[in-house]
Structure formats: structure tokens, C-alpha cells
């Protein structure tokens, strides 16, 4: 059983970040292909929100901004 920091990176960080990246790119495609401006805003908003949440959850915030400081 992987625990601690390694578990976070293997089981949370990498999958969530990759998923968020896929969502972000998909939203970019959706934005381009949606003809209606209102739908465009709506879809990108509804798509980017979970992406931002995933990123925010998966960021290792405990790591310092500049290691060594």
C-alpha cells in the first residue's frame, strides 16, 4: 500500500492533473466549434469550473514556491 506523499502523487496528483488538462483542451475545442456566443460562454464556464477544482485539489500546496528559501 502506497502511503503519504507518494500516494498523493501517484493516486491523486497525476490522474487529476491529466484529467484537468484533457478537460481544458476539450473546452478549447468546444469553444471553437460552438456557434452561439451564449452557449459558448456557458459550456466553457461549466467545463472549466471542474477543471479548476481538480487542479486546485491536486496541487501540492505544501511545497514551497522556491525550494531552498
Amino acid at each position: 500500500m502506497i502511503t503519504g506523499m507518494r500516494r498523493f502523487f501517484v493516486a491523486e496528483h497525476i490522474p487529476l492533473m491529466v484529467l484537468a488538462l484533457i478537460v481544458i483542451h476539450a473546452i478549447g475545442v468546444v469553444e471553437r466549434r460552438t456557434p452561439n456566443d451564449g452557449d459558448r460562454f456557458k459550456r466553457s464556464a461549466l467545463g472549466d469550473t471542474p477543471a479548476l477544482m481538480m487542479v486546485a485539489v491536486a496541487i501540492p500546496f505544501w511545497r514551497p514556491l522556491f525550494p531552498g528559501l
Partner: protein
């Protein structure tokens, strides 16, 4: 390679340093030479008997050799403990080697060998006629008086550190201290870009305004930042700042 640190007579501190070194050192195959002189106290034995770390039986981790030396007797303890995994496992594995060394030191075999080497039967004075196997020694047995000197050989070719000197603790090997900081800065760009894009899309959606080029730019910024962050993450994964799992050192052939 090796360096000898003399221990003080009856210095239990040296043994504590030794144990601390063993616990803190990240070297999977550091060679610990414990030279035993028979005129002084034996802190190793005392520590072993106190049971600071509970040995768990397995004794294959340590390899104790008797070797001749200028000292009256000398054991070479080769640590071949699997150092990966939980720290408690490290403790156990390394502790066993110390324990074995101390147990071996307690056996009368030591003085018999000394007497043979020196050709001096008087060294056997006061010894029981029957050699007690070290496994059957109890606390009641009088310990051999020992002086312990320690020599540490680092297989990685690093400079050996005095065990009593500042020992880099495991903290030094944690990710925070060896990770390039690039991704930690860029992640804020990603977050800012995401917040900015969300801000624009939500206001555009709820405000029912027209799609502007800056909306497209916001999305593009977010995508680019996320891509770069991902690239940095991949680079980090290749460099692998995560403490690696070490495979157990192979059995010596």
C-alpha cells in the same frame, strides 16, 4: 574510503551516534566496522539489552565477519538491509546488525581467538570453560569490556561524515529540498489563468454579452499554461525527486 573514528572509553554516546547514524544514513550498503578492544566498556551491549528497537527475528540482513586487525579483535558488519519502505523497517534491519555484533562480542569465542592469536593462554583467565553461544547469553552474564571504534565506508563514494557531526536527517532527502522550483511558480500562472478564464466566461454567460477576442485569449492562456505545467511535471517525473524505492541489496555471492 574508510575512516576511523575512535570512541571514548565507555562512551555510550558513541554508540548512540552509531545508531543514529545508522538510522539517519541513507546508504544502503554502508560498511560499518566495529573494532572491539577488550579493555573498556561495551556500550553496544548495553544499548542492545535495553531493547531500544525491537528486533524482529530476521537476521539475514547483517553479515558479521571476524577479521584480524591491529585491534585485539575486529568485526566487520556489513549492512545489507533493505532500506526502502517504512522507516521502522530500516530501524529493525539496522538494529539487528548491531545486536548481532554485540551478541557476538559477548561470546567467549572472542577471547579464545585472542588467546590463540597471541599465543597467550593467560588471556583465557577468568573465562568459563564452556563457550556460551551468543544466542544463549543473558543479561546476567558479565559483559566483555570493550572499546568500540567505528569506520564507515560509503559505497557511493561520498565523503564520509563523522557520525557525531551534523548528520543530514531524512528531511534533507525530501522532495521539497531537491525539487526544481519551476513548476511551483508556474502553477500559480495556471491558477491565475484558470480563474481569469472562468471569470470571463461566467460574466459572459450570465451577462449575455458577445464573445470577444479577449475571451479567446483567456482560454488560450489557460490551455498554454496548463500545457507548460504538464511538461514541467513530466520533466520532474523523469528527474524523479520522489524518494526512490531501493531494491533490497542482493545477496553477496
Amino acid at each position: 574510503m574508510g575512516r576511523v573514528w575512535p570512541g571514548k572509553s565507555g562512551d555510550e554516546g558513541l554508540c548512540q551516534h552509531l545508531i543514529r547514524y545508522l538510522l539517519e544514513s541513507n546508504d544502503a550498503a554502508a560498511l560499518i566496522f566495529i573494532r572491539v578492544w577488550d579493555r573498556l566498556e561495551s556500550p553496544v551491549i548495553n544499548l542492545a539489552q535495553r531493547g531500544r528497537v525491537e528486533p524482529e527475528g530476521a537476521s539475514t540482513h547483517a553479515d558479521i565477519q571476524e577479521a584480524p586487525g591491529q585491534a585485539l579483535a575486529e568485526w566487520k558488519v556489513r549492512l545489507r538491509a533493505p532500506l526502502a519502505g517504512a522507516r521502522s523497517r530500516r530501524k529493525t534491519a539496522r538494529y539487528i546488525s548491531i545486536r548481532q555484533a554485540s551478541q557476538a562480542a559477548r561470546g567467549s569465542v572472542l577471547r579464545r581467538r585472542l588467546a590463540d592469536d597471541a599465543g597467550d593462554p593467560s588471556l583465557l583467565d577468568g573465562l568459563p570453560a564452556v563457550v556460551t553461544p551468543s544466542s544463549q547469553l543473558s543479561r546476567a552474564d558479565p559483559p566483555i569490556r570493550l572499546e568500540i571504534r567505528m569506520e564507515v565506508e560509503h559505497p557511493a563514494g561520498r565523503d564520509p561524515v563523522h557520525p557525531a557531526a551534523e548528520i543530514p536527517s531524512l528531511e534533507a532527502y525530501k522532495m521539497d529540498n531537491i525539487t526544481p522550483g519551476a513548476d511551483n511558480v508556474v502553477r500559480w500562472l495556471v491558477l491565475l489563468a484558470a480563474v481569469w478564464a472562468l471569470f470571463r466566461t461566467y460574466f459572459g454567460w450570465l451577462g449575455a454579452r458577445a464573445w470577444e477576442p479577449s475571451d479567446k485569449q483567456a482560454g488560450f492562456l489557460l490551455t498554454t499554461a496548463a500545457d507548460n505545467q504538464f511538461l514541467l511535471g513530466v520533466i520532474l517525473a523523469v528527474i524523479s525527486p520522489l524518494p526512490k524505492r531501493r531494491s533490497p541489496t542482493r545477496e553477496r555471492s
